[in-house]
Symmetry: C2
Subunit: 121 residues, 2 copies
């Protein structure tokens, strides 16, 4: 039963950036995991970016195109910049369909962030 000591990590789907981590109360983060998770938190550390993210997450069907969410009081290039940052951090995925690019929340990554902050663990 040597496998019983292997820590199970969340299973990744569709090529998301690798989420980690056990709840923050369960033990110290390794330097490598801290780098990875800090980058995810950084992606949500801008108010406009957080509003764009919440617009996508709460949009009917769980996805939105730029045309649905651009009314956050900043220019279109700025919106595109923020969406790119969220995608690079692994929090959003995107898909071009016809004229528009549609953005979806990457559930496994966001769930990993929520799990890390779960103090009940």
């Amino acid at each position: 039963m040597s496998n019983s000591e292997v820590v199970e990590l969340p299973v990744l789907q569709d090529g998301d950036a690798a989420p980690c981590c056990p709840p923050i109360t369960a033990g110290e983060l390794s330097p490598a995991d801290a780098e990875k998770m800090a980058a995810m938190f950084k992606a949500l550390s801008d108010p406009v970016r957080l509003r764009l993210f919440s617009k996508i997450a709460s949009h009917p069907g769980g996805e939105a195109c730029v045309c649905d969410i651009a009314d956050v009081g900043v220019s279109q290039p700025t919106v595109s910049h923020h969406l790119r940052k969220l995608r690079e951090a692994g929090l959003l995925t995107s898909e071009r369909r016809g004229t528009w690019v549609y953005y979806q929340v990457a559930p496994s990554v966001v769930a990993a962030m929520a799990a890390l902050l779960d103090l009940r663990g």
Copy 2:
């Protein structure tokens, strides 16, 4: 049984910054809530700060003094700077007892961040 429909919000203690918010899937964040939550995520957007936070959260008894957690490879003033940032963002509370300042995770604030990222909502 009218109470059964009341949504319970986290109870604040000892003057913590007010947590918000419903799950990010439930609706758009207001600009004011986005400002508040972005500041909390920003506090966790540095790898060293995240490691210090995880050391405190996982320390026996749920609290730690600087003497317990300073081995993160940066200078003592840098550790103090990061702990101050975490406290200012409302994620840590602190208490001086004798020679040492003890830091605790502010559970209601961290729970609010986890709740925001709960995609099941």
